[in-house]
């Protein structure tokens, strides 16, 4: 991509500051959750979240929803962590934070679809890395959750062009990144990368955001990028895409990302892809419910 386009995107991303920005707890929270499981500082997370009343309240509201089937709604973040487990609370917190950072009314994409895809991809990334006996499932989860964050930038900073892009993708039933290239000349990978820079996200997550549509071109951390690439594709053919029919066939095994992963993880050879797909289907309903509960809470705020 030319330098002038990169500069243009950076300029636009800078201006996003004037819109409701990301809750101050988000980035420290991300950092805490990014720590290896044995080093996660539960007390600090709880303390951090308690600083932001809105986030804490939203988290409790979601945790109390019938979806989680708790006999008694949690009264504190600590209670929620104890009854739901840290991972669930993580998901809820991050989604609430991000939902707050980006107002619903400016979306060319339905936020519900965006969150379903992001959470779905996060979940698939974690499960996939478990299948591969890869060490860092939580990192994979985070990468899946944030990979498409460039769409948010598009909604805010390039709303008109991005609306045209979405219309075109729908009309021609083509992938959004293809439509972005045709209409805008750049994609959510570039805009997401600019935002990731601004947020000082870690290098590996930044690589995922920038290269999840062309993993073979990234310089470092290829296996994680490849894992997100495949999980993203799988989500889009199993009811966790962007809500329209993408006319294409997806051959995951004969994809360069599969090759990248197979060089890194021996266990890939033993993965029964059809069965993995069926297992994923089992979680789709849960993702739908989780998002409508979380997003319902976010929408009510706006």
């Amino acid at each position: 991509m030319s330098t002038s386009v990169t500069t243009l995107i950076r300029e636009h991303v800078k201006r996003i500051e004037t819109t409701p920005s990301i809750p101050t707890v988000f980035l420290p929270l991300l950092e805490l959750l990014n720590a290896p499981p044995e080093e996660v500082k539960l007390e600090e997370i709880i303390k951090l979240v308690s600083y932001d009343n809105t986030i804490a309240a939203q988290c409790l509201r979601v945790a109390s929803s019938p979806l989680f089937g708790l006999s008694k709604p949690p009264e504190s973040i600590k209670g929620a962590v104890i009854s739901l487990g840290l991972r669930r609370v993580e998901t809820i917190l991050l989604t609430c934070c991000l939902g707050q950072a980006f107002p619903a009314k400016q979306w060319a994409l339905d936020p519900t679809l965006f969150w379903r895809h992001s959470l779905g991809c996060a979940m698939v990334c974690r499960k996939f890395s478990e299948k591969l006996s890869a060490a860092d499932g939580d990192k994979a989860y985070m990468a899946g959750l944030l990979h498409d964050i460039g769409f948010m930038v598009n909604c805010l900073a390039f709303s008109k062009d991005f609306s045209t892009t979405v219309e075109r993708a729908l009309r021609e039933q083509i992938p959004l990144d293809e439509a972005e290239r045709a209409v805008m000349g750049f994609t959510h990978c570039e805009t997401g990368h600019a935002l990731a820079e601004k947020w000082h996200l870690s290098d590996d997550i930044m690589q995922v955001i920038a290269h999840h549509h062309n993993p073979e071109q990234c310089q470092e951390g290829k296996p994680l990028v490849a894992l997100v690439h495949l999980s993203d594709l799988l989500c889009r053919v199993r009811g966790l895409g962007y809500g329209y029919y993408e006319r294409r066939k997806v051959d995951l095994v004969h994809n360069s990302s599969w090759t990248i992963l197979s060089q890194e993880y021996r266990d890939l050879e033993g993965v029964d892809l059809a069965r993995f797909t069926f297992e994923l289907d089992q979680d789709v309903a849960e993702i739908y419910e989780m998002v409508s509960t979380i997003f319902g809470a976010v929408a009510a705020r706006n």
């Binding site: 679809l113 979405v166 729908l170 051959d251 995951l252 059809a274 797909t277």
Partner: protein, 302 residues
């Protein structure tokens, strides 16, 4: 904007059986997958439990645990698994059983096959419904091909071979008479266009649909007959392979592979998989559907 409400990808069946099922049924689910490639989703586990319940009554098992023993004991397992598979696949057949497969056919596969064959003098598509039972799948395919006869398939000849082991099934298929249950997923549009009422409760497939199909008896294990089924573009074989043991299943799949033209597709039932029985086929995903592709010569991926 795309909204969740507009989403073309159907929301998966809503959860969930009100009562928790005995964990032993998950073990049975895994056993069934191992021998047949059929995967029962968590939310459909109660169907498996129902099927087991009916078998337990017939064989006099007192508890799911007793039944598990019967399914795994050397002396009884083969026969009992066959009974159980019968029980869980019975009554599943209906017309228009898998909309995602039909979408893949209309939106991706037919355009691809037609484009691949443009240079051929004879514009002909050959389809095989292997294990056609009482004809539901065969007629569904025929009607869907007819829908394209003024568009994509204008001036094309469509030949559908429909075969089954069972003589009585083949006779019933030829008659093409269906009641409400078999037609539960058929829209009024198709009922009006391709069926004639024969009494208050039953509809019969019209001659112009039947004209596309040749029904005959065929044993998939008969190697000499299988050699005559060459030159297929599409093969559908739904819930049939589950009855074969490992080695004969591999042999039948090899036959299917060699009977397909390069660039052709093989489809199983919606929750059925080839597992890892054949490494020549490429497992490919379409939205909501899994297919197996015999790579085309020009793709260079053999």
């Amino acid at each position: 904007m795309i909204t969740a409400a507009q989403t073309a990808v159907a929301k998966p069946g809503s959860p969930k059986a009100s009562e928790p099922v005995d964990p032993i049924f998950r073990q049975i689910r895994d056993l069934v997958y191992k021998v047949s490639g059929i995967f029962q989703l968590e939310e459909k586990l109660y169907l498996l439990a129902d099927g087991c319940g009916r078998r337990m009554k017939q064989v006099g098992s007192k508890s799911p645990r007793d039944y598990w023993d019967l399914l795994t004991a050397h002396s009884s397992r083969d026969a009992e698994l066959r009974h159980l598979l019968n029980e869980i696949t019975i009554g599943e057949t209906c017309l228009f059983r898998s909309p995602p497969q039909l979408d893949a056919l209309h939106k991706v596969i037919l355009p691809e096959l037609v484009a691949d064959k443009t240079k051929q003098v004879i514009k002909r598509l050959r389809i095989w419904s292997a294990g056609c039972s009482t004809g539901e799948e065969s007629y569904t395919l025929a009607m869907n091909m007819l829908e394209q006869s003024q568009g994509l398939l204008k001036d094309w000849t469509i030949e559908i071979q429909a075969t089954d082991l069972n003589d009585r099934s083949v006779e019933a298929a030829k008659a093409g008479i269906y009641g409400d249950y078999a037609l539960r997923a058929t829209s009024d549009y198709f009922k009006r266009k391709y069926f004639s009422p024969i009494d208050e409760k039953k509809l019969q497939v019209r001659p112009e649909v039947k004209k596309l199909i040749t029904f005959s008896r065929l044993n998939l294990q008969d190697d000499s007959k299988m050699l005559f089924m060459k030159g297929m573009d599409l093969i559908f074989c739904c819930n049939v392979l589950i009855y074969f043991d490992g080695p004969s299943k591999s042999k039948v799949i090899d036959h299917f592979y060699s009977n397909l033209n390069f660039g052709g597709y093989f489809f199983l039932g919606t929750s059925e998989s080839l597992m890892k029985l054949n490494d020549k086929f490429h497992l490919v995903h379409f939205p909501g559907a899994i297919g197996y592709w015999k790579p085309s010569l020009k793709s260079g991926k053999l």
